[in-house]
Symmetry: C2
Amino acid sequence: MKNCLCLLVVCIMHCSAYSQNVKKDSATLKQISNHILTNYQCYKDLRELCKTIGHRLSGSPQAEQAVIWGKKVLDQIGCDRVFLQEVMVPHWVRGEEKASFITAKGKKIPVVISSLGNAVGTGPEGIRAQIVRADNMDELKRMSRADIEGKIVFFNYRFDQKNINTFESYGPCVYYRWGAPSEASKLGAIGVVIRSVSSAYDNKPHTGSMRYDTKYPAIPSVAISNVDADELEKMLAQPGKVSMEMMTTCQMLEDVKSYNVVAEIKGSEVPEEIICFGGHLDSWDIGEGAHDDGAGVVQAIEVMRTFKQLGIKPKRTIRAVLFMNEENGLRGGVKYAELAELNHENHILAIESDAGGDVPLGFSMEMSRAQKEKVKSWKPLLEPYGVHNFEHNGGGADIGPIHRKMNVPMMELLPNSQRYFDVHHSANDVFENIHRRELCLGSVAMAHMVYLVSMYGL
Amino acid sequence: MKNCLCLLVVCIMHCSAYSQNVKKDSATLKQISNHILTNYQCYKDLRELCKTIGHRLSGSPQAEQAVIWGKKVLDQIGCDRVFLQEVMVPHWVRGEEKASFITAKGKKIPVVISSLGNAVGTGPEGIRAQIVRADNMDELKRMSRADIEGKIVFFNYRFDQKNINTFESYGPCVYYRWGAPSEASKLGAIGVVIRSVSSAYDNKPHTGSMRYDTKYPAIPSVAISNVDADELEKMLAQPGKVSMEMMTTCQMLEDVKSYNVVAEIKGSEVPEEIICFGGHLDSWDIGEGAHDDGAGVVQAIEVMRTFKQLGIKPKRTIRAVLFMNEENGLRGGVKYAELAELNHENHILAIESDAGGDVPLGFSMEMSRAQKEKVKSWKPLLEPYGVHNFEHNGGGADIGPIHRKMNVPMMELLPNSQRYFDVHHSANDVFENIHRRELCLGSVAMAHMVYLVSMYGL
C-alpha cells in the first residue's frame, strides 16, 4: 500500500512532465525515427568501416585509417566543430599462432587458437607441455605447485546459459581471461588455454583483453572455441596424459600516437552544458568489429547527421565521441576525461553504445535518483520505439573515467543481449551479422535520448 | 489525475494478486527457464523438422511426414493422450516457373519469380505482355480498361520501413498479394506481378496466400524480390515499353486428407477447463518453414516436454495443438473449433505462436478487460524473462475460429518483429536463421503463460 502511494506521487510528477511539450516532442521523435529508418545511412557507414578498413586494433594502420575515416564522415555532416584528441595507445600485435593437442596415444590434432590480447608469445620455438584442467578458480586453488609446474592450464569455465541477460554470464567468465593466467603462473604453469567467453557453440575462438600480475612470470595465454573446448574435455576424460603444442609470436610494441575523434553541435540556449555520447573506434584484430563497436560508432555519427539534416537545434551542446583503445587499454576514455577536467567542461551526461547493434530495449543509468526519475518520465515517449527498460544500473567502459573523475551521470544503450556474445571478439563479428533495421533503431534510441536531454537537461 | 487514481486501484489489485504464491511461482518459472535454456531440445527438434522433412505445404508428402513426426515426438514425451484430428486440406502445387523482363530495346532479363499460393498457372505455353505499373490501388483505380487490358499489372506497393512494429507494415501490403490480382483482372489484365511483401532488400521473392474473386477470370500472379522490383521500377522509368514473359504451371489439385496433431496433459484439479496453445505444422513450399511456423510447433512441443520432465502437474488441462493448413486455407484451425464445439469442450484460453522464433517481448490479448488485468498482474513474474509488452490486442489465425465460434479468449506470443518479414514465406526461412537462445526463450514464455493460466485460470 505504501509502495502504491509512492507510485501515485511519482505518477503525478510524470503526468505533469509528460504533458509538457509532449505533442511537439512526440512529433520530433517520430521525425527522427522516420529519417533514420528510411535513409539507414548508419548501416551504409558501417558497411564502409567494416569492408574498406576492417578490424582496427589500437596502434594498427587500420586504427589510423579509422580515425581519418571518422573525422571525414563527421566533417561532411557539417557539425560546428570536429576535432581530434591525441592519445598514446598500446600497440599489441598478434603475429603467427598455431597449436595442436597431442592425445595420450600420441595423435596430433590441430586446433585453432587466438592469443589473448596483451599476452606474450611463446616465440617461434613454441612450447609443449601436458594439459591440466581446472573448471574454475576453486579447482585451481585446490591444486599444488607439483600438479601445475611446467604444465599448460586449461581454464574450462563455462558461459552460463541460464541467465536471461547474457552480460550476467559474461561478467564471471571474464576473470578467466583477464586475471586467471597469472594465477596459473603463480603455481608454475608455462601456458594457459581458456574456453572462449562466448554463448555460441561453434569453432571460433574469442579473444579479449588480459593483464599480467607482474609478481609472476608472464606466460602465453590463448583461447579455444567452445566446440574445441568440448573436444578437449572429452580427450582429458580418457586415460593417459594429453599435451598441447603451441606457437605464438604476439608481442607488445612501443606505444603509438592515436586519437579520439570528437564532433560537436553547440547548444542554442545552454551551450556550456555538454551531452557526450559515442562508442569506440578500435576493435579486436579478428573479425571486423561490427557489433563491437562499429555499431556504437556509426550510431553516434548518425545522431549528429540526423540533428543536422532535420535542422534540429539542441538547446544544450551535443558531442559525438569516437573513442580510441577501449579494447586493450581504455586510454581514449581516460584522455577524454582528463581533457574535460583540464578544460573545465560541464558534462551533464555521457551515453555509451557498446553492447552491440541488436534491437534496443532500454538504457542503463548511473546517476542520482531524481535524475533517473526524470529520464523515466520520458518513458511514454520512448516505449513506442521498443525502448522500455530503465531498471539497470551502469554506464560504459569509455565513459567510466569521466563518471568517476567528474561525477558525470552516465547511461548505456541496452540492446537485446541474446546474440552479442555469439560473435563478440571473434571472427564472426562481421558486418553480415548486423541487422539493418535493428542497427537503425539503436541510432534512433540514441538520438531520442540525446534530443530529450538536450532540450530538458538532466 | 483521474488516470493516476485509476492506476492506484489497479496497483492495489496487482499487489494482492502478486503476493499470492509469488515465491513458489517465481521458483517454478525459473526452473522452467533453466531447463529449456540448458537442454534446448526445441532447437534440436526444429533442426530435425527443417533438415529431415523441410518445407511442408498442405497436401504434400512432406506435410504428411510432418504429421507423423509431430505425433512421434509428442508420443515420446509421455503426454496423457496424443491424437489426430482429421481434416481435408487444399493441395496446391507449384510446378515449374520462370520469367524474364524484356526491355524497350528488346533485351531479355531473366528474373526469379514465385507464384502466389493458390494461383493458377499460365500453362507450359506461358504468357507475354506489356507491364503496367500501379504503386497502389488508387493508382490502379485511376486507370481505364484500355490502360490495362491484355497487360500484366505490376503492383509496386512498398513495405513501409517507418513502422516500428513490422506487422503494421505487413498488414496494408497483404491486400496487394491477397485481393489485388482480381482487381487487375476486373480491368482486363492477363497477369499480375507484385513487389514482395518483405522488409528485406534482397533477391528472394516472397510467396503467400491469395484468393480470386470468382466474378473475374483467375489470372497468373507471381511475386518478385524487392531488389528485382527496384530494377523493374528503373526499367519502367525509361522511355518505351517493358514487357514480361512468364511461364508457371502451378495448379490446385483435389483436396487431401490430413491432420491436426493434438497432445494433452489432464488437469489435476479442474480437468474440464482447457488451455490450448500451438503453431502450424504446414509451411510454404520454399525455404524450410523455420520461423513460419516451425518455431511455433517446437515451442508448443517444448511446453509439454518441460511439464512432463519437470513433473509439473497443471491444475487445468493443457493441450498442444499442431495445426494443419494455416497458410492456404486455415482448415485445421476451423476443424479444431468445430470439434471443440461438437465435444462441448470448455476452452478457457487459446495461445498461438506464429510470429517467428525471435526473442519474445510480450503477448497480445483478445479477451475481457478483467481477464487482461489478471494476465497483467503476472507481469512482475514475466518481466525478468524480457516478456513485458501486454498492450496489443489480437490473437492468431489458427485460434481465430475457436475465438469467434465459442468466444474463447486468445493470446499470441509477440517476438521481436524486426527480422521476421526479411525471411517470411521465402527461401531464406531456414533453420540457420533461427537463434538458439531466442527460440528457447519463446518456449520459456509459452511455458510460463501456460503454467500461470493452468494454475490460476483466467
